[in-house]
């Protein structure tokens, strides 16, 4: 009995681990104590500061347009304005996408000799995780004042424009929930 209960706890852990990896992980950090209402305008950082970080996304105008469009939409929704080309903005935006190999634990399908959860073997599988990091920098002090990110599996996403667009929209929308509003 004792063994079964504790094994159940162990399996619960494995299941927690599985859900944590299988879903998109989104979060943001903000500089503590900073008065965000001092900011109103933003612009993109210099082009050379925007490396994409993976050859499959480099020079991909569709990807860049989707990311920049999603970010500009979220900034506008929080009261920020894109500054005129001749003006110095309050904030400069940067983003960086990268793809890393990660591993997660997956249960084998319930089939054959494996009738219940206890008997189903688990496998460690490797997958590709894409991370989109958005940095907002105070243009005057050049300090990072906010960073948001979204991380999810990109298996079957990079080659499918529709799915890529939906992932970008979801990630950007969710990470910007943590951005304070403009003045």
């Amino acid at each position: 009995m004792a063994r079964r209960l504790l094994c159940a706890a162990g399996i619960t852990l494995a299941v927690f681990g599985l859900t944590a990896c299988a879903t998109m992980r989104v979060s943001s950090y903000v500089e503590r104590g900073l008065d965000f209402s001092q900011y109103r305008t933003f612009d993109w950082g210099p082009a050379d500061a925007l490396p994409v970080g993976d050859p499959r996304l480099d020079q991909d105008r569709f990807f860049q347009d989707q990311v920049e469009g999603a970010i500009e939409k979220q900034m506008a929704a929080r009261g920020f304005e894109r500054s005129a080309a001749s003006d110095v903005p309050d904030l400069r935006m940067h983003y960086h996408a990268s793809i890393n190999r990660r591993v997660e634990v997956r249960e084998e399908d319930h089939s054959g000799n494996c009738r219940d959860d206890d008997a189903c073997p688990a496998r460690v599988i490797e997958y590709e995780a894409g991370t989109l990091v958005v940095d907002i920098v105070d243009a005057r002090t050049n300090r990072l004042v906010w960073r948001g990110w979204a991380q999810d599996s990109v298996d079957g996403v990079l080659g499918n424009r529709d799915r890529l667009r939906r992932k970008i929209d979801e990630g950007v929308t969710r990470m910007f929930v943590g951005l304070p509003r403009a003045r």
């Binding site: 504790l6 634990v105 073997p121």
Partner: protein, 186 residues
């Protein structure tokens, strides 16, 4: 009565196992150059930030995190009688390194706490973080002391409050191992 106690202990073990998943215990290590009189150091400054990748894009060039670590170290060192130098030469230069990797535990928790049957044991994967602090003697340019903390960071990075609490805890535990007799500095 015996049964209740048994269930209580089981619950405690299960909670412990849960705690392991989201915040594996922080392991602290340090070493000091043998024969070195650490009391000779009184002032410190921060060395240039390191150019190495942390292994995780969420933490690379993340100044919000590195400044939190620095602030936490500053507070701990002030309470131990060190004085921070913004300019001029200090006795020691401090460098910080942060590293994050995924680790795979085949069935360590199950084996340790549940003694599960082989077929029941599940591997699990977690993010492991290392925070390392180096104290470099500015006169000799040699490493005088190194302390580091390693622990699970699953779910912690995606929450700024938890991350900051974890940083403060790790820094306090690392610097508690400094070979320093604070009574001599009063």
């Amino acid at each position: 009565m015996y049964r209740l106690t048994r269930i209580e202990s089981l619950a405690a073990a299960a909670l412990l196992a849960l705690a392991f998943d989201s915040c594996a215990p922080v392991r602290i290590n340090s070493y000091v150059v043998r024969g070195l009189d650490f009391q000779q150091y009184r002032t410190y400054a921060w060395g240039p930030s390191d150019a190495f990748s942390t292994g995780d894009p969420r933490l690379d060039n993340n100044r919000i995190v590195s400044e939190r670590i620095a602030k936490s170290v500053d507070q701990q060192l002030a309470s131990r009688g060190f004085e921070k130098r913004e300019s001029g030469v200090a006795d020691v230069l401090i460098h910080m390194h942060v590293r994050l990797d995924q680790r795979i535990e085949s069935d360590a928790i199950d084996r340790e706490y549940a003694r599960c049957e082989v077929s029941d044991c599940r591997p699990y994967v977690y993010d492991a973080g290392t925070l390392l602090l180096d104290f470099i003697d500015t006169r000799t340019n040699q490493l005088a002391w190194r302390g580091w903390a390693e622990g699970g960071f699953d779910g912690v990075i995606d929450n700024q409050d938890w991350m900051e609490a974890r940083i403060d805890d790790a820094v306090a535990k690392i610097l508690a191992r400094l070979p320093r007799d604070t009574s001599r500095n009063r």
